[in-house]
């Protein structure tokens, strides 16, 4: 096998959607046994390209040819590509929510005996797969009850159960924290050792540089550059420049905080698991937030950060929450999310598909629909104002869409995330809680989001960020709370926070 042994060759692919050319004459080659990373801005066409390759878009839906293992493909669906040894793990999780882990793993590929499902075989065979991806949950667990990160691992288990020769990961680490991302990358390298070829799409350039043998960059549907990292030295700056088409000096905007008095305080907050009422998920957490401050919550997956925020935000999570909340030194209770919003607290969920967006409505509606009272006169909607506000966020966050009337489900993953953020920003809360605000967002747009958060605190508002990216937390926040196993383990000021320090604090004691 020479180094020019291509397992996959994509020639002259063009794919149009109404109003958008998502791919424009793209060529793309992947060598057998390598890890090939695909990078580009939100909406550059990365997901579309891998969807073409894996048969999500059937042959005939696009122009050009895909050659896999030396043969031109004629996939009609992912079923065909899977049986051909090509599996894809999608950007948005695609598990069936009310089914168990092991049923999801074998869904579409059930083990049967005479047409009858052999449940025992499925269960038995799921154990080694789960072990391989490092998931310790019992296989009978219903997936809708698991965190996004764990669901991702189930997806990977599903893909490797099909004896894939080529695995495609569409932003696999976007929902994982640093430690889990690292495990996933190790898994990728492990796959590589076993001779499995991997294509990975990612916005996290550090991890791209860490594992990639080759890198291809897409911009506006064009394949603009391709590097072989074994043959040449490639820098992050180089990649960013090729991605956004211009030099980007800093990844984080300058900060000049003006911090005031304490505006929000939570004391002795505890909440139990919604099913297992005697299992504490958040254990006696206390923290505060000052005017003009950005505070991050860091910690490993399952630390209880999301659960803490959701239970505070009008009891949207868990069972039997106890504790006290003070808003401007006054004790308050949030009976429901609505109540919390009316008192000036905003929350953006980490799970944008199921909790954030209305996929069958357009961008404009999605951005404005929680601020309609503000955008209407005596109950009558002011269409002009609605348009203007939506337009404002489309411009300032660079939401890539042919028009404000585009349906949310037709946007690329990162652009959907921007829409969810826009909606929360438009509602203009005093206390803004964002869970993983930059998940799946490209470097350029990240900068924009950070700038907007900075702008908010400059106006005297306060922000809580739940973040799994430590560099982001360290560069953006004034203070960092470190959580693990439901407890707040400690707090670090901006100038004393380091990645090691945070990890150490989370794990020790």
């Amino acid at each position: 096998m020479g180094s020019n042994d291509y397992i996959l060759e994509v020639n002259n692919i063009t794919k149009d959607f109404p109003g958008v050319r998502a791919l424009d004459n793209v060529d793309f080659k992947v060598r057998r046994g390598e890890i090939h990373c695909l990078v580009g801005e939100n909406g550059a066409g990365k997901s579309t390209l891998v969807n073409v390759i894996s048969g999500v878009f059937p042959r005939g839906d696009y122009e050009g040819v895909v050659v896999f293992k030396g043969k031109e493909t004629h996939y009609r669906s992912t079923k065909d590509s899977e049986s051909d040894g090509l599996s894809i793990i999608h950007q948005e999780l695609t598990l069936s929510p009310y089914l168990s882990i092991y049923e999801n793993i074998f869904l579409g590929n059930m083990k049967t005996r005479f047409g009858v499902i052999d449940w025992d075989a499925c269960l038995r065979d799921s154990y080694p797969l789960l072990k391989r991806v490092g998931l310790s949950e019992p296989p009978q667990t219903i997936v809708s009850k698991m965190s996004v990160g764990k669901q991702q691992l189930v997806e990977i288990a599903r893909a490797i159960s099909r004896n894939a020769e080529l695995l495609i990961f569409d932003e696999p680490t976007s929902s994982l924290n640093d430690e889990e991302s690292e495990n996933l990358l190790k898994l990728l390298l492990e796959f590589k050792r076993e001779g499995i070829t991997c294509i990975m799409i990612s916005h996290k350039l550090d991890e791209v540089l860490a594992v990639a043998d080759s890198i291809t960059i897409l911009r506006d549907g064009l394949s603009v550059a391709s590097y072989d990292t074994r043959a040449e030295e490639v820098s992050k700056q180089q990649i960013i420049k090729a991605m956004v088409g211009r030099e980007l000096k800093n990844l984080f905007p300058e900060k000049d905080p003006k911090i005031g008095e304490v505006v929000f305080e939570v004391k002795n907050w505890s909440v139990n698991h919604p099913d297992y009422h005697d299992m504490k998920i958040v254990d006696n957490a206390s923290f505060f937030l000052k005017r003009g401050e950005i505070v991050s919550f860091c910690g490993p997956m399952g630390a209880g950060r999301t659960e803490l925020m959701m239970s505070i935000f009008g009891n949207s999570y868990g069972y039997g929450a106890t504790g006290e909340i003070y808003l401007h030194n006054e004790k308050v209770t949030f009976k429901s999310p609505k109540d919390a919003i009316e008192k000036g607290v905003g929350y953006v969920s980490e799970d944008r598909k199921s909790l954030g967006l209305i996929l069958i409505q357009d961008v404009k509606t999605n951005i404005t629909n929680s601020s309609l009272p503000k955008l209407s006169k005596r109950g009558v909607l002011d269409k002009e104002k609605i348009r203007e506000s939506a337009e404002f966020y489309k411009e300032s966050l660079q939401i890539k869409t042919p028009s404000l009337e585009q349906l949310a489900r037709n946007l690329s993953g990162g652009n959907q995330q921007k829409v969810v953020l826009s909606r929360a920003l438009l509602a203009d809360p005093d206390i803004f809680i964002v869970d993983e605000p930059t998940r799946g967002i490209d470097v350029g747009a990240k900068f924009e989001i950070y700038s907007i958060l900075n702008e908010m605190v400059k106006q005297g508002k306060s922000v809580i960020v739940v973040s799994s990216e430590l560099t982001e937390a360290i560069s953006m926040s004034d203070r960092i709370y470190v959580m693990n196993e439901g407890k707040i383990k400690g707090v670090l000021n901006r100038d004393e926070a380091t990645q090691e320090g945070i990890m150490h604090m989370a794990l020790v004691d």
């Binding site: 999500v56 669906s77 992912t78 079923k79 899977e82 999608h90 999780l93 695609t94 598990l95 069936s96 929510p97 009310y98 089914l99 049923e103 869904l107 579409g108 590929n109 059930m110 049967t112 047409g115 009858v116 499902i117 449940w119 025992d120 269960l123 038995r124 219903i142 809708s144 009850k145 599903r158 919604p274 099913d275 069972y319």
Partner: protein, 397 residues
């Protein structure tokens, strides 16, 4: 091979709590039976009445078994009542040609399948929403029934047909004491089968190294189910033996419990209903799954039509009126979710029995249809409220 058998450490209440959602329907059915037993001074539990409950509700229960699949997949079928009338009328007409019972039954199933396929094509491939397609079907097949029957009942040429609904299975002269012998034998076989099945299931789990619930709970489960079997079969045995519809129902239920739990198509129905897009991305042909589901519904409408015609001993043009409502309500009482993805065959049957027992009990008490509607509505809303509440508590949406 495996060194140690894992026994789950779980208390009785822990186990009961885990299975509360599953058990609650049975508890509800038991409570309602008990309440009516008090109100009717035990009349509702007499052998004759228990047999009647099965016979009078069989055609709804058959529909509910199909309807729950349709609901799991996220659709609804409003046409079932009319299709029952139509296929019932046709079955009476072909039976009167003298081709015998079994061919009539088979032909009716085929007609049901054809009607089902017709609607299924519109729903699955032409993407007309099921609600609208079947609303059309409801009007269409009612109209066609009126046309082929000339809006007057078709009576049957002999009493053979009637046996499907009101006949019973017994061997002449075979009695044990005052009881019908066959019922007792079937009862014994059922209990033995239950024990053997559980025994092998535990052995299989041990062999595969899966974790087990403690033996005492398995025994408790077997005990409870056996008690139920004994209660029902003793009632049958003391009256006229196992009703033929009972057998039909049992076969239908068994087939569909098996399909939904152990066949690929069954699980695909859940996958598509839970999240159609993800099912598609898992390589499932979701259109085909929707198609098959509606065809199954059609076949069961055909069967229900035959049973209902047999029960009435003639085919009526207005037969099956509002059956769709009863079937849909049975599914929801039995724990199906209106948003799809959740529901079980046993649930639908239990839900149907809850409604049947209420109807029957209130009729025994000479309470009219007016109050029956009110009580049924309350039970429906209460059951669905409980279901949604408990599901929310357990994070299932």
């Amino acid at each position: 091979m495996t060194d140690k058998v894992q026994i789950e450490q779980i208390s009785f209440w822990g186990l009961a709590k885990q299975n509360m959602r599953k058990l609650s329907m049975f508890i509800m059915l038991g409570l309602i039976l008990a309440v009516f037993a008090i109100l009717t001074k035990g009349v509702n539990l007499t052998p004759r009445n228990i047999t009647n409950i099965f016979i009078q509700n069989s055609y709804i229960l058959i529909l509910a078994v199909g309807m729950v699949l349709v609901i799991i997949i996220g659709n609804i079928d409003l046409s079932v009542g009319s299709v029952v009338a139509f296929s019932g009328a046709i079955s009476a007409m072909i039976y009167n040609k003298g081709i015998g019972l079994i061919p009539t039954l088979l032909l009716s199933l085929v007609i049901g399948a054809l009607i089902g396929s017709f609607q299924a094509v519109l729903i699955a491939y032409l993407r007309i929403p099921a609600f609208i397609t079947t609303l059309g079907g409801m009007l269409l097949f009612r109209g066609l029934t009126y046309i082929i029957t000339n809006v007057s009942p078709i009576s049957l040429r002999d009493d053979g047909f009637k046996q499907i609904a009101s006949g019973s299975l017994n061997i002449k002269g075979f009695t044990i004491g005052n009881y019908d012998g066959l019922s007792i034998v079937v009862m014994a076989v059922a209990i033995i089968a239950l024990v053997v099945y559980n025994y092998f299931q535990r052995r299989r789990k041990i062999r595969n190294g899966f974790s087990l619930i403690p033996l005492r709970y398995t025994i408790l489960k077997i005990g409870a189910l056996s008690a139920l079997i004994i209660l029902v079969f003793l009632r049958f045995a003391a009256y006229r033996g196992i009703p033929t519809v009972g057998l039909v129902l049992f076969i239908v239920t068994a087939i569909f419990v098996f399909i939904t739990n152990n066949t690929v198509i069954g699980r695909y129905i859940y996958a598509v209903g839970g999240n159609a897009k993800s099912a598609k991305l898992s390589g499932i042909n979701s259109e085909q799954v929707v198609f098959i589901t509606h065809v199954i519904m059609g076949v069961l409408c055909g069967l229900s039509g035959v049973v209902f015609t047999a029960y009435m001993n003639s085919a009526l043009p207005q037969a099956g009126n509002q059956f769709e409502m009863d079937a849909i309500a049975s599914c929801y009482i039995g724990g199906a979710a209106a948003s799809g993805g959740i529901g079980t065959t046993i649930g639908a049957i239990t839900g149907g029995l809850v409604m049947g027992v209420i109807n029957n009990g209130m009729s025994l008490m000479n309470i009219g249809a007016d109050w029956q509607y009110v009580v049924k509505a309350s039970i429906l809303l209460l059951a669905v409220f409980y279901d949604i509440w408990s599901r929310r508590k357990s994070g299932l949406g």
